[in-house]
Structure formats: structure tokens, C-alpha cells
Amino acid sequence: MDADVFRAWITDIAAVIKDQRDHLTQLDAAIGDADHGANLNRGFTAVLAALDADPPATPGAVLTLTGRTLISKVGGASGPLYGTAFRRAGRSLGDASDVDLAALAAALEAALAGIQQLGAAKEGDKTMVDVLAPATAAFSKAVAEGQSAADALGALVTAAQSGAEATVSMQALKGRASYLGPRSVGHEDPGAASSALILGALRDAILAAQ
């Protein structure tokens, strides 16, 4: 998978976020402050512009620029968290011009580690981690077992979606939603929802390239 695939991923993310902007904001209105959709839409719009300005040559460079741009355009909790995630993933991919599934799995592990290091959320805290942790684990396992790209990415997305759904019944222990205490139960976490969209876009971009 070369830089084009990763650029396609980011482009797909920007498209699906724009499309789901109001849905994400509504999720955030229920247990947060109603800006998650606007935040990510602002961020990924800026990322597209940055990628167009001077298109990075390697997958790692694409993700690093994406992360840096998110950090300097999004704000809120999700900006530093997603920004750090993409930067760590980019760093993990190094300057290879073409990366394989194993390298991608390692990059996703690095992204998750970055988010947890910064935000200190564990699985079950009702955050994006509840999508990224199981999805990354499922993907790494599938790749280790030598499954096909389609199967491994399928496992990634399935785990991501059930992870997002699982946040509905959780009580938030991190982020703004935690202020609600028990009243946070019964709502899907907006960052979990956006993480599922981001991973869904990853599968689409890679499969489309094959």
C-alpha cells in the first residue's frame, strides 16, 4: 500500500465525516457539548487542503501531516487525541514508500498507544478507545494469522462497530460525558462513533485500491 492508498483513506474520512457531521454533533449534544462533528469536519477539511498543498510521498508522511494538521486545527479533546494517533502511526510507518498489512497493524497499535498515553482512557471508559482497542487487536490477530486483507479489514471494522455500539451501555469515566455520571448511559459515545467511521474508511480505501 503506497501513499495514494493512505491519501485515499484520508479523503474517504473527510467525506464520511462531512456526511455524518450532524449525527456526530447530535451524539455529542446528548452527553457532551455538541461540537464533535464540527470539530472533525473542520479538522479533516484542513487536512485535505494540507495534503493537496504539497502531497507527501510516503504513507508515513501522509499520516504525520494529517496528525500535525489535526492538532493545529481541531482543538477540543479529539484534536490532540486523533492528531497524536495519526502522528504516531505515521512515525511507526517510517519512510517506507510501500507498507504491508503487518506494518499497518503496528501503526494502528502505535496510534492506540499514543491516545492512551495522552488521555489515559482504558477500555470501558466510554471513549474512542472502546473502538480503537478491540479493532486494533482484532486486526493484528487476523494479520498474524495470515488472513487476507479483505478478511483482516473485515475483522477490524466488525470489531470497531461492535465496540462503538458497546459504548451505549457504558457510563463515561473520561471526557466531558463523565460529568453526567449515570446519565451518560444509554448514549453512543461520539468519539467512538467517529473512530468507527475512520476505520471503516480505512477498509474502503484499501479494498478499493486492490
Partner: protein, 330 residues
């Protein structure tokens, strides 16, 4: 949604332009959305930087000026600013005596200010951060992101600003900021929701006689819903919650703050009840603020902040301040 704006995406930029236009003593870094004291940086003076999401006006930009903040970063509505903005503000006010970051305790603010402090450190600027977390409506525990920073932010900015103006070193300014935060507690109540310009409809719905207790300043739902009652009873509920967490004794600094859509007349009705309650509990309101100081867009509602004063704090509170939002002594 009916708002006095040009377009939802321009509201922050346009409001900053208006603030700067109305107050020529302030400088505006429009690109970074940073409001800066006209005479910054002042050599040898500790720089005070705060910031946060917009929609809380006059906080923070309205508290930039003599005796208070040196710069404020404005994020999008209810969204923490980004590290670049905070770095720009930090550089603009650094007079080689270090810079204090006053950060309200929200995950986004904490993370972005933390990254900004690292960037400033790379550039050789000494930064100390003080986190404000005075909202007793949130249990500070393993089960939350910790107490929110609300009304005490105004007091921290005023009192730390006065000490910095007097030429105190960074460590002392940071220490007094922490002291004010530790001696302060707040609790907020919403009578109505608020409407983000970019969203166009209320963040939550309240029935005709419903109110929300224990709200923050971002239209987040609060701790519980109940039925509207008298100002007397509301003052009781709020001050009971504060008093459970910090004894109401001695000389107090009290703010009865409007959330943006509540008329001053009602805030004064409430203040009369707050004073009656506090005096009934053997304490004394030595200083007070009544008005809109840390708001939540067009929300109708209020918050009460109580700070236990010391002679030092009272002296620093009384020191001259000259900002769009707070002014006395000059």
C-alpha cells in the same frame, strides 16, 4: 435560531474583531485568534495567558488588560483552542519572567495547553500551568474527568493578574492562582438550554417548568432535572451544595454570575437571597460580583462562586484592574 451574527462559521472571528475595535488598548492577532494587551510583552513581568472555547464572553478576551490577563486564546464555540494559538499567545506576552497558563479543567483544554507548554519549552519559554477546577456539581473522583473549571477562573485571573502586575515572580503568581482555586467552589443552574451557532438548535430541551441543576458552561446536561422554584430556594440548593464541600465561614468573595440570557434584575433578586443565606450561616460577603462574567451563549441561568478570602487575596482583588469586563481603580 435567531442570532446577531453574519455566519455561524464567522462568529468567533467577528466577535474578536468587535472586541478589539471597541477596546483600542487591546491588540488582536486575528490569524491566531489571540487577544493581547497592547503593551505586551512587558520586560520582567510574568505573562498571564488563558483561553478556552468561545461562547463564555466576557471570559477570556474581556479579561485581558492591566492587572489581569496579558493574552487570551479563543477557540471555536465551546471548543478548546489549539496549541498553535496558545504558543502564539505565550510568545506574545513573554517578558523573560516566564508565563502562567490558566487552564480550565476540561480534557480538551488540558491536552491542548499541555502540548502548547511543550512547544513553548522547546522555544525556551518557561511555562507553569495552573488548572482551575471549582465546580462542585461534579464529583472529583475516579469516575469523572475531574471537576470542571468555571466561575473561579474569573477570580484566579484577577488575583494572579494583580500579583503579576506587582512584579512577583512566576512561582509566586502560580502559587496564588492555585490558592484561589483551592479556596473556591461553584455551582450552576440552567433555566433554558443554549444554542450553538453552528448547530442551530438548543443543545438540550427543558420543559416549561423544568430546570437543570449542576450544569457546566457548555450546555452539557447537568446533574439532575427538577422543577423551577423560588430564587430563595434556588439560592439554598446551590449554597447547600457549595457548603457541603467547603465551609462557608469568614470573609467571602461571592459571584452571582449570569449565563448570558438572564437579566440583571433577576441576578440581583438572587444575590439578595445568597447574601441572606450566607449571613444566616455566620459568614460575611466581603466582596461580590453580580453580572454576566462567564457565560454559556444565550443560556438563561446562573452560577454562584464562593471564595474564602485572606487579607492578601482581598488586597489583590481590590488592586486596580482595567479590562473590558472588569474595571476599577483606574
Amino acid at each position: 435560531m435567531k442570532k446577531l451574527i453574519n455566519a455561524p462559521d464567522d462568529v468567533v472571528t467577528d466577535a474578536l474583531a468587535g472586541l478589539a475595535a471597541a477596546h483600542p488598548s487591546l491588540r488582536l492577532d486575528a490569524e491566531n485568534k489571540v487577544v493581547i494587551r497592547g503593551d505586551a510583552p512587558r520586560a520582567g513581568k510574568v505573562g498571564l495567558v488563558s483561553g478556552g472555547g468561545s461562547g463564555h464572553e466576557p471570559l477570556h478576551g474581556g479579561f485581558v488588560g492591566y492587572g489581569m490577563l496579558d493574552a487570551a486564546c479563543a477557540g471555536e464555540v465551546f471548543t478548546s483552542p489549539v496549541p498553535d494559538q496558545m504558543l502564539a499567545a505565550t510568545k506574545a506576552v513573554s517578558g523573560d519572567a516566564g508565563v502562567l497558563h490558566i487552564v480550565k479543567n476540561y480534557t480538551g483544554d488540558i491536552l491542548n495547553f499541555q502540548m502548547a507548554a511543550e512547544l513553548a519549552d522547546d522555544e525556551g519559554i518557561e511555562v507553569v500551568s495552573v488548572v482551575v477546577n471549582d465546580d462542585v456539581a461534579v464529583q472529583d473522583s475516579l469516575y469523572t474527568a475531574g471537576r470542571r473549571g468555571v466561575g473561579a477562573t474569573v477570580f484566579v485571573e484577577k488575583i494572579a493578574g494583580a500579583l503579576a502586575e506587582a512584579g512577583a515572580p512566576l512561582a509566586d503568581v502560580a502559587a496564588i492562582a492555585r490558592e484561589v482555586n483551592e479556596r473556591s467552589r461553584s455551582f450552576g443552574v440552567a433555566l433554558t438550554s443554549c444554542t450553538l451557532p453552528a448547530v442551530g438548535k438548543p443543545s438540550f430541551e427543558l420543559a416549561e417548568s423544568e430546570i437543570e441543576l449542576g450544569i457546566g458552561i457548555h450546555g452539557e446536561p447537568g446533574r439532575e432535572r427538577t422543577t423551577i422554584t423560588t430564587a430563595h430556594n434556588l439560592a439554598g440548593t446551590v449554597l447547600d451544595a457549595i457548603g457541603d464541600d467547603m465551609p462557608l465561614s469568614g470573609d467571602l468573595l461571592v459571584m452571582v454570575n449570569g449565563m448570558g440570557g438572564t437579566p440583571l434584575m433577576e441576578l440581583y433578586v438572587l444575590y439578595a437571597e445568597v447574601q441572606r443565606y450566607i449571613e444566616g450561616h455566620g459568614a460575611r460577603i466581603a466582596r461580590n460580583l453580580v453580572g454576566n462574567y462567564i457565560t454559556s451563549l444565550d443560556m438563561q441561568g446562573f452560577s454562584v462562586t464562593v471564595t474564602q478570602l485572606t487579607d492578601d487575596l482581598t488586597r489583590l482583588w481590590d488592586a486596580p484592574v482595567d479590562t473590558p469586563g472588569l474595571r476599577w481603580g483606574r
